[in-house]
Subunit: 159 residues, 2 copies
DNA sequence: ACAGATAGTTTGTGTAACACAAACCATTGA
DNA sequence: TCAATGGTTTGTGTTACACAAACTATCTGT
């Protein structure tokens, strides 16, 4: 935990680079997403929702690290576009269980398909295997520990 | 997740995940960077500047994909903190060559050191080797896109 | 030498994506 | 019954932009 004197401390911080690459993708994504009535933030929410399955709005707020009042607005957008559904939890009727609708899942897939070109532009320096590695690293970092198996499997072939 | 036995087409879009992870880092970075008088955007600029060596403000605007009027403000911040220097280009005195100062390089290193903990929090699911891989992938991706932009942009000289 | 393009700057306007606070309702649990 | 909780609405403020207009200094082609 505390500072071990310099052993194999990697001097490379990803943060700024991450920021940079993300911005490039987001800028282009906006124009691709607009015809679908979506914004990058919606995509993130839908993606998280897909990966998480149903969850409460609080869970979502925590995962997105957003203020819950703003999550409400975000979900209002998505719900009025019929991309997500808010169901009352039977266990605790104060709670909303937020879930992707079929329409939502389809729209997400559609958006991802449309974004292929964007990623080709920005991640053009990476071949397919590298992009898959990148995806897996991000997925794992985002806290889906199950990705471990997937990452392990990468070096022989894609999973 | 879907186990597609299919071909080589990677169904995974990184964009949303990239956005998500980047946000997590940026949120925490802000509090770490504030005592240093920096913001995440400054870090990105400094990083790019370090990787690029000296360049004109237009080059920088293109690399950052920011409007040049806003780049001016960004550089004003950095210059008044003595982190960068604007020198007139001898070849074309309209042009400013923007360069990291020694102070700037030191401050950048300091910031990166301070950000180690932040990345530990957010990228905690990745070991050192994976983080290095992530860094390299991002670096490569960023480099390619810059090269692409540069090819279009440049008439003759530096790139 | 002159005209038009170019690099940078300033100022000003607008917008999106937030954070945060306050007040409110329905529901839960002690 | 009463306090806490999940969600919602409204309202305020900030930041990070994009974009436009007008200006200076400088360069380049004719």
């Amino acid at each position: 935990m505390s500072e071990l004197p310099v052993v194999n401390q990697p001097p490379h911080r990803c943060g700024a680079l991450l920021d940079h690459v993300t911005r490039r993708i987001r800028l282009r994504s906006e124009t691709v997403l607009t015809p679908l009535g979506l914004r990058p933030r919606h995509l993130v929410a839908l993606t998280v929702l897909r990966d998480l399955g149903g969850c409460s709005q609080q869970d979502l707020a925590k995962t997105l690290e957003m203020d819950s009042t703003n999550v409400v607005g975000l979900l209002n957008d998505l719900e009025s576009a019929n991309l997500i559904e808010r169901k009352r939890s039977p266990q605790d009727r104060r709670r909303h269980i937020v879930e992707l609708t079929d329409v939502g899942a389809k729209q997400l897939a559609k958006a991802e398909f449309a974004l292929a070109e964007v990623e080709d532009q920005v991640l053009g320096g990476l071949d397919d295997e590298q992009r898959e590695t990148l995806y897996n690293l991000l997925y794992q970092a985002a806290g889906h520990a199950e990705a471990g198996a997937c990452v392990e499997a990468v070096h022989d072939d894609n999973c």
